[in-house]
Symmetry: D3
Subunit: 291 residues, 6 copies
């Protein structure tokens, strides 16, 4: 039955490799993504299409796709009416959302958005930028920029440009005036597809698996053995949020402890555990973590 | 003693990287494979030689090598008398065997092999192709093609070419008429070497480790905790083939369950488990799985 | 408080990628290392600087850096007074230390260091080489070579050059006369920084985590189930150094065994275990191992 | 005096390399174009800025630039009021202009533009496309496509896409319905700058030199010696448009002939000249040709 | 009329780039050669097909192609009956023909071909090698090698391999025993096509232009002015083969001399000319030279 | 006779490609320079060795080489006693010499060399830098820096670093305090070799050819026809340094003019010539120009 297919959009470009890797960790193998805009996936209920993040939400809103992965910024830019299923925090090295910032040359006299009155703003994110200035009742002309927007910062009055760490702006001697919008990656669905039993189940199932894979990236499994006498002390040291699995060992006065911890905690936890009497401490990588 | 060495051939070219990775997972580190045709391996009982898959079986049959990895297609093409130890399903993204197909241009009038009578067939797999037509008692001329065979499809009457997904044939507007041979990767041994105690043990040991590593690629370890009351329900959901390891937890009304599952099953299994009362569900990658 | 920062040097060049990977496994994410000589790290107590291994010890000795990673050879060459915290055996495919060797063309009449009296030696490691000859009371002229030293071997009387496997020397038809110094990677600290409580704790904590990650690279976790009756036999086969974790299974006449083993042992261990009655044997990768 | 500077825009991207080469042939050395958006040029009266062809005409129209090089298509798309100084036929291998074509999937029922009524058209050239349909009084929705437009041809009803040879369209199984606009590269100027004596002289001088370099690319210098008796016959064979330079040789019954010919003519001309008695025939490359 | 097309094969692989450049210098622009096996050429009477040099002569002999460019070695290997129009000395840096040599490991006891009796020879050039040994009445087994033949030199008794400078053989510690065949690039034609007026004319015209371009590569045009009194002395110094063009200058006691010389002669000629009174000496590059 | 060989050093690294191209234009073909440190050259009297520019003068001074190409900076750094034959202005895009500059961070308080008293200076050019400060009687510590010196500018007090345009310094926010040394590329000879008749002749001949090729790079040949009546006016416009070659044409009231001009002059010359009545103006590239 043709209805039993979910048409899913994945983002071309800089996010593609990370997306294929994430689906891989979630248990879906995507092949052929380098050679074709219709990559294969080893799930017969899914049909993939690779599109630029900028256009994704439009095709989801129109129903050309049932669901897709894109950024919040471009959903806003396109003004697309879509269901936002979940945030997917997999796209970047750092854990902060990306920002579109209003920036001017270091040497500019502009100090705040209001100083740009009657000025020209170059950006790829035209509609969001127009709304930003309209909300502030500042009259400016917003022009579409075809990439390399920093370069034009000295041809116009200000730019609105994407930044993660601000490094590229600094290298171009630009100064940030304000944040126009912050954005994270989103899993979105067409509103009608979301009402369809099969599609909704499939979308939710994909969302669970993707999030379980994302969650697992920053976690590790921790195992250790401890004398029953030291158990209480050890349990106090362990992060309290998740209760550890304690199992009796054949050797009667020892227990084995297993727990999933945040990888960052390891740095300080492991030395403390050793000091508190733990032995045979190991950590191991995880594929998925479901709370 | 010089007898205690196994001379092992690994395939150069497109399979090399995957082969080195597979040996790595199997516990053998192959180094220097980019720079030398005699790569190093961290096992003093093995001496490696890198050869093209097309020639491997000839050198194994001749006893220049004791064992080697190559494709079934080239064993047939060379008509080599060798022991086929095991299939090694590691070489491709997809799980289907590769096929050598008889193909003609879309616009050709040829519909079946018989229509090619008195025609010219270009292929890299000359002997297998000759046998295919001889078995069908169709008289054709089979010519050796030095790669890029698709290009010649319009210079001759038909080609016999390797395909995995058919994508390359489609891109060249070719139509598949028939499958001439299907092939998978094989671990083969010289017949005399196979009678030698040391070599046979070594070959079998390598075969076990390679297959354990291959097996592990599509499996994950699954752990979860469950109340004793829910245990029966959970066990019903779990794949029955492998009996799970159930261990008592210190906290007396809970048990921990561990089981190795097929990664593909995860997609549907994990949500069911959660619904059935499982908690602390994690999956983790495996290096080797031995049944 | 500005004191609470550890200034840490990591080696640019061939070791960089492996270093970033090692820190990653140790739980520290280093970003931006391709674009900047001041990479970011997700630990606010650490400030990274990327420098060439050759210069590292000088900047650590001077206190510009609190700690750094470099080779023993360059510590000696610079004659730097630094604390050597630990060896870090992560830098090479093979497990042998690198060597700086005295080498001459195959056709040279020189057989031993003494034959080079009054000769010219080209090397990047000028001071160590001078000391080597001074210790032997052989009078030679040692000249600094800007890389590609092999090439100059026929312009001077001998060279002192780095080698791992000797392959590059062989390819240049050079013959090794003697080893001048062997070297491994070291984690070093400034002597004053080592007296500072915060810095010393931080350095030791990093050392533990790096070594735990290195240790884990050559180990795997092994799990298997076995009938209680077979337990003794199995335990005899397992490597004795680390006591395995034995836990009772719900199914009363079986126990589960877990142990960390050296990946190399697997090759021979796994078949023996199977023969001794073990079932459900799996191995899995580890992130860290702390004894 | 600051007025004595011409601000000139050159196109980033696929045309950049050819543009730098053309300026080189015209006698201007552009350096640093790989690293900076403000490349250097060895003419103190020119200041370069590298911008995408899509935006160039906007910045020329606004006076940010005095002149620039871009395509006719993007001048039309932006609706920019600029002076079009000259066509520059340097950008492509072939001598035909590029075309933006209306295309549909091979399998589409659409035969002509009119069949697309109420349909959706994806294109990078939104305004030109809208005008094309408005002129034909066909009501369609034109949507901006962020590159890779062919891919979307099966998501919408038709696309308008750039093509030189049609090869890429064919590879995507698309069928051309109509040509929306043809385009060549143009040298354009700001209308006010064009009224300024210095700038106009400079622009015209650049135009002459660029065109002389372009002209020279398809021409060669031809030299030959001939007996005075054969001169008339030879002159008849030579292309008549340009009168050849005939000079007397010291050896009195011979003359030398020099003429600039189209490189394509060579193929047929040279054999004829030889037959007609010419000797010492050589051709040589030209840097510039000014009629 | 379909007859007015010449089907021309050009060699894929290592010769392709040089071939495209040569045709360019000869006045034919070949485009699209990176992306298609049917490159375009700006001559409507020519249709190109790109094939491996190894197979070219077979397709020319069969009439699939009218003419083609390939090596003498592969014409012999295929035993193809074709017209050899001309040698084309464009393919290599050096001016010597390539050689297929019989080579053995340095450490082999084999000194001459006869010592290989009953041995195995690996080569890509099976038929030529068989004939070589048959002519010498030496019984050997010749096996087809799929590239990287040097590697196999220690698995068989000898190899027959292509070499230009012997460098690659030396690097593999191989010793040359004999030369089996020398080869140069050839322009060949199908025997029937050679009888066709249009095709023969076209083939000859292409041959003239290609050779004129090849000839021009090692020549330069030389110009100088000299006093009439010094003319005799200068003429004596100039290479005598080609008579120089001497023209009277307006300034009555001076003449201008032009001559085409071999670029290599320049090295010694130019200083002598200066000494003999020449002034304004320049040399310039040539596109074509026809004697 | 072995004496009839000139051992010539060419610089490895960034200058190599330009050097090979220059020798090519000068009439010498250098091959194999990518693969070997002993490249081939098609002149049996020359033997090439590729060395880093930094070491070249040392090997020339020692007589290991007869002559070599290197920078003035490194001759000074090594304090090598060599003959400086000629400057070779071929190495850079711009025509200015490179400079080694004393630089400090923008934010440093250092304004002049004297402010660095007792400071640490990092540089690759240790001896020249020491002399610079010694001449000024400023006491500093100069430390050898292994490349990437800019990075260390904030670890020490100042750096001495190579710069062409200052761009890299600016990008690192460094400020130039002073120029320590300016440098150009030099052709140098060993003092004894310079006394040898054969070697001196050969060195001088190479110098002439290299300089003739360098000279030709910035020149073009210019040809035009003009009526005898306009000759005087045209001659006035032409650069006066070089007297043009004027030849009578068969067509009696016209003369042909040829002259070598600086390519830069073309920009302004060509329009003037056209205005003054010249016709058939062409310019063509030159290989060599000897005054």
């Amino acid at each position: 039955m043709s209805k039993e297919i979910l048409k899913l959009g994945i983002p071309a470009g800089s996010l593609l490799k990370a997306t294929v890797a994430l689906f891989g960790k979630a248990g879906f193998e995507i092949t052929n993504s380098q050679r074709s805009y219709m990559p294969s996936i080893d799930d017969e209920q899914i049909e993939l299409l690779m599109l630029r993040a900028q256009e994704m939400s439009r095709y989801v809103a129109d129903g050309v796709l049932d669901a897709g992965i894109t950024g919040y910024d471009w959903i806003m830019e396109n003004g697309s009416e879509v269901e936002q299923i979940t945030e997917l925090a997999y796209s970047k090295a750092t854990s902060q959302p990306t920002r579109w910032v209003l920036a001017v040359p270091n040497e500019s006299k502009v100090k705040k958005a209001e100083d740009l009155k009657s000025g020209i703003i170059a950006t790829e994110l035209v509609n969001v930028t127009k709304k930003y200035f309209a909300d502030k009742k500042i009259d400016v002309k917003v022009e579409f920029s075809w990439g390399a927007t920093e370069v034009k910062s000295r041809l116009v009055d200000a730019i609105v440009e994407l930044t993660e760490t601000g490094a590229s702006l600094g290298a171009n001697n630009l100064r940030i005036i304000d944040t126009v919008i912050t954005s994270t990656t989103r899993f979105i669905a067409n509103k009608q597809a979301w009402q369809d039993k099969f599609k909704r189940d499939k979308i939710e199932s994909i969302a669970i698996l993707l999030n379980a894979a994302i969650e697992a990236r920053s976690k590790v499994g921790l195992k250790l053995n401890v004398k029953k006498d030291d158990l209480k002390a050890i349990l106090k040291i362990l992060p309290s949020e998740k209760s550890p699995t304690v199992s009796n060992l054949a050797e009667s006065d020892f227990v084995a402890i297993e727990v999933v911890i945040d990888e960052k905690v390891e740095r300080t936890l492991v030395p403390s555990l050793k000091q508190a009497g733990a032995s045979g401490i190991i950590t191991y990588p995880l594929n998925k973590v479901i709370h």
